[in-house]
């Protein structure tokens, strides 16, 4: 009997060229990081513009090359392979280092901006070109933030390239960050208008409806300032309920918002780290709604104080506003919200802290057509949906009982539906009538998890 030995086809040559390009990407990333380091400590010896801005450029190119090489050869179903096996995405040593560095950066940015002088100077030409004024720490932050959304936006586009929903949604957050949260505020300054972010609204941008801001916009911005106040008020009180009624919270949280934009792009590799336990949910409601209440109270106090010209409440309301700004605006949204990405997941701020998310969530739960439908009795309880829910929702709990998922915290990112190996979930808008009713093809549990 003739015996043939089949040798397995070697894919080595192709693999090696991928590998070489990956290493080239990593080399560029390292050079870029070194440049940024030199800019921040060695500004006296060499121009920080060259090292800092140049380093940022090289870092961007390297990151894009690396991302391109590491994502495009993975098929859609392979994209989450090794998430819980790699150090960086499973709270390993490198995740802690990244977490500490990010947190440290926020501490320096908020409380010791002088230490970042070299880097701030590095952004000077860009700041002059865009805004016609000197760079400061917030411009530095805005530049890094926007770059992170754009570069990691490419990552998300490649990772979810077979889904039109994710392509359009990712392009949307990239567009709003670059256009509405970076270029437009810069251009406003260039034309000596008040800096204004058209994609942020009260109660997230809580001071936009504070009497001081309103007063300043109307006084300094003339007609444009009046429009800004009008725009902000309309979005907070009219457009938000209407859009949320038709599309759910997602129109803002995973399509427009800058915090959401960062979470959906730079934060995407960390989405599975969110805590799904019932205890986490209890913390969530115990923190986020009081914060919303706090913003509403602060705003009310400030207006009462303003109308009464300080006679009624005196300094108390100003203290309220300062307290909020420090603990929530700085500590929570920045330091913990982004710094802890690699440890607690990418939506810590959105889930536990954001007053806008709380407001949108209440609307979504009670006055919306949005829901995630479960397809009959098709769920196999595998857990991919719950694992990759960045908001820590136990999606599987509902899916395995054929129930629709209607949760205040759901930001409608749609990843649960994407990672489901049986295509069981669909984000959709439908009539409110029978919105909570499940599939008739499966018996369900009477136990409530939200209690």
């Amino acid at each position: 009997m003739p015996t043939t030995v089949i040798s397995h086809q070697a894919e080595a040559p192709v693999k090696e060229s991928h590998h070489a390009l990956k290493v080239a990407g990593l080399l560029l990333i390292s050079i870029g990081l070194l440049g940024i380091l030199v800019a921040s400590v060695g500004a006296d010896y060499i121009s920080p513009v060259l090292t800092g801005l140049g380093g940022t450029l090289v870092l961007t190119m390297g990151a894009l090359l690396y991302i391109w090489q590491s994502r495009q050869y993975k098929s859609p179903a392979e994209q989450n392979q090794g998430m819980w096996q790699r150090q960086a995405t499973s709270r390993g040593a490198s995740a802690w280092v990244i977490g500490f560095v990010l947190t440290g950066f926020y501490v320096l940015l908020y409380w010791f901006p002088d230490t970042l002088q070299g880097l701030i100077q590095a952004m000077e030409p860009l700041s002059q070109w865009l805004r016609n004024r000197p760079s400061d720490q917030w411009f530095l932050y805005g530049t890094f933030y926007t770059l992170a959304v754009l570069v990691m936006g490419v990552y998300a586009l490649l990772k979810y390239r077979t889904s039109r929903y994710h392509i359009i949604r990712t392009l949307s957050v990239m567009f709003f960050q670059l256009g509405f949260a970076f270029l437009l505020p810069g251009l406003l300054l260039l034309f000596n208008k008040p800096e204004y972010y058209f994609s942020y609204f009260w109660p997230l941008k809580y001071d936009y409806l504070f009497p001081g801001t309103v007063d300043y916009l109307i006084r300094d911005g003339a007609a444009l300032g009046v429009f800004m106040v009008f725009w902000g008020a309309v979005f907070s009180f009219l457009a938000t309920p209407v859009l949320t009624y038709f599309y759910g919270k997602r129109w803002y949280c995973s399509w427009v918002c800058g915090c959401g934009g960062l979470a959906e792009t730079a934060g995407d590799p960390y989405r599975h780290l969110s805590d799904k336990s019932r205890k986490a949910w209890r913390w969530e409601v115990a923190i986020i709604y009081p914060i919303l209440g706090f913003v509403i109270l602060t705003t009310l106090f400030l207006w009462i104080n303003s109308w009464s010209e300080g006679r009624l409440l005196g300094n108390l309301s100003g203290g309220f506003a300062q307290t909020y700004g420090f603990f929530i605006g700085a500590m929570f949204s920045g330091v913990i919200g982004v710094g802890f990405y690699p440890l607690m997941g990418n939506r810590v701020w959105c889930r536990f802290g954001c007053p806008m998310a709380a407001y949108l969530g209440l609307l979504q739960k009670y006055f919306s057509r949005f829901r995630i439908t479960t397809n009959g009795g098709q769920c196999i309880s595998c857990g991919n949906c719950s694992t990759y829910c960045e908001m820590g929702i136990d999606v599987r709990w509902y899916a395995q009982q054929g129930k629709p998922i209607i949760r205040a915290s759901c930001v409608g990112c749609g990843i649960c539906a994407h990672v489901c190996p049986r295509g069981v979930l669909k984000l959709e808008n439908g009539p409110q009538e029978n919105r909570y009713a499940g599939s008739p093809l499966i018996r369900r549990d009477d136990l409530r998890i939200l209690s």
């Binding site: 989450n80 098709q378 008739p440």
Partner: protein, 459 residues
């Protein structure tokens, strides 16, 4: 039969989807004592998700659907032990570690394991199936130094195993008895599409080929296999995925009638009073014509459990499965099926079939040539609404009625391209006398019209 009473003890052996669903449904309407016994794992986990743990998408704790608090709140006792014997005369179980466990009603939901066909060398190190948690742990150990693997069998577990091994860069060859992958279930077009897709993922498929023997190295580990046609393939791992057989060995002296599985009637009653068997380990004595003797799917496990729960709760009704459905995933391509689409068609069968140019998506509507009655639907890379497909099949829709509601059935995500028009074009060419409706109803209209939702609103 009377409803199980409060002071009775319901013992369920096996905490897979069948055992767990049974415990949950009985608990919903009864305060009887319920104990779940499992040797495999203390907590119920999703068997279908084992592959994702190996590939690093999830950790083991992520594939556990119900945490400890759930079982405590539900007052369902969990026993992590192996049942050595069932003493039906004394109504108690003999456990390996714990003391004897008495029962009033016993449900056997012990599942199945890989079946082997007496191949020489099948007990060598590096040869295994993939059903249980222990199989996964073994596979983790067995593949630590594996560069080449051979998978025997062209079914759903086979392709899962292939995907797992590829995720670790292991070269995989599959031996498939048929002319195409899963051609004993899929019609030729679908089977061809999936076969090509698997090959695109770097899997070598040896079609119409079977395992002859497994060859050992000096240490008693697999070093190669030889096929029927005499090819020798070097490999350090052999995956056996040629089907499963019921776990019934421990029942030898229990006085329960067994053939391949535990013999049951349409109420899941075994030959012993107060002993029932469901899911993979059960075998119907008189299965309905055209229906299988054994149903070994996740979904049927759950359906068996729901039916038996009704019986135990005093609502004795025979098991009627309703229209068949199943789903799977072949690397990137999702598969759904509703109703009955056989692999081989007869003269009575006709179908509308469409697939895209890239051969990654396909739709088949199979109908009876004479009556135009819808028989089944196959979908690759496209999602349809289970509730509506079930309704069509249950109500005996003709193809003509189906077509009227076709656009409402799509379940793909928002912004995805829709392909129903291609099918409709085919349909109106084949049936030129049929008129398109003035307006297609939306899913929400049909859902309301047919009442396709539960009355439960607990969320």
């Amino acid at each position: 039969m009377d409803k199980i009473s409060e002071n009775e003890h319901l013992v369920i052996i096996g905490n897979g989807i069948a055992g767990v669903t049974l415990a949950q449904r009985v608990r919903q309407q009864s305060d009887c004592r319920i104990t779940l016994v499992s040797a495999e794992s203390r907590l119920h986990f999703s068997r279908t998700a084992l592959m994702y743990v190996y590939m690093g998408h999830m950790r083991f704790q992520d594939i556990v659907p119900y945490a400890d608090w759930y079982w405590q709140e539900k007052k369902i006792e969990l026993v992590h032990d192996y049942v050595e014997r069932v003493k039906t005369s004394e109504k108690r179980l003999v456990l390996r570690d714990g003391g004897p466990l008495p029962y009033d009603k016993l449900v056997l939901a012990t599942g199945s394991r890989a079946s082997y066909y007496d191949w020489p060398g099948q007990t060598l190190k590096g040869v295994q199936g993939l059903v249980s948690l222990q199989d996964l742990e073994l596979m983790e150990a067995n593949t630590a130094c594996t560069q080449q693997a051979v998978i025997v069998g062209g079914g759903l577990i086979g392709v899962e195993m292939a995907e797992m091994l590829r995720s670790r860069g292991i070269a995989v060859t599959m031996l498939i008895r048929d002319k195409l992958y899963w051609h004993n279930v899929l019609p030729a077009e679908e089977a061809q599409l999936v076969t090509n897709h698997i090959r695109q993922h770097g899997i070598e498929l040896l079609l119409q080929e079977e395992l002859q023997e497994i060859l050992a190295d000096d240490s008693g580990r697999v070093r190669a296999i030889r096929t029927r046609r005499g090819q020798e393939l070097t490999c350090q791992f052999v995956g056996i995925t040629t089907g499963v057989k019921p776990n019934v060995d421990f029942l030898k002296d229990a006085g329960i009638a067994i053939d391949r599985g535990i013999l049951v009637n349409e109420f899941f009653e075994t030959s012993q009073t107060d002993v029932y068997a469901i899911s993979d380990c059960a075998q119907f004595r008189n299965s309905a014509p055209g229906q299988p003797m054994m149903e070994q799917l996740w979904y049927t496990g759950r359906l068996h459990a729901e039916a038996l729960a009704a019986t135990l709760l005093g609502n004795r009704k025979p098991y009627q499965r309703g229209p068949w459905f199943n789903s799977a995933k072949f690397f990137d391509i999702e598969y759904q099926t509703y109703g009955t689409v056989p692999a081989q068609f007869t003269e009575q069968h006709a179908s509308l079939y469409w697939q895209n140019e890239a051969a990654t998506k396909a739709i088949r509507l199979l109908y009876d040539k004479e009556t135009a009655k819808l028989l089944g639907i196959n979908l690759l890379g496209i999602r349809y609404r289970h509730d509506l497909c079930h309704h069509w099949l249950q109500q005996g829709y003709t193809l003509h009625r189906v077509v009227q509601e076709l656009p409402a059935v799509n379940f793909d995500p928002e912004f995805f391209q829709r392909y129903e028009e291609e099918l409709l074009r085919q349909y109106y060419t084949r049936f030129p006398e049929q008129q398109p409706p003035v307006k297609h109803s939306s899913w929400w209209d049909l859902r309301k019209q047919f009442g396709l939702f539960s009355n439960s609103t607990s969320c």
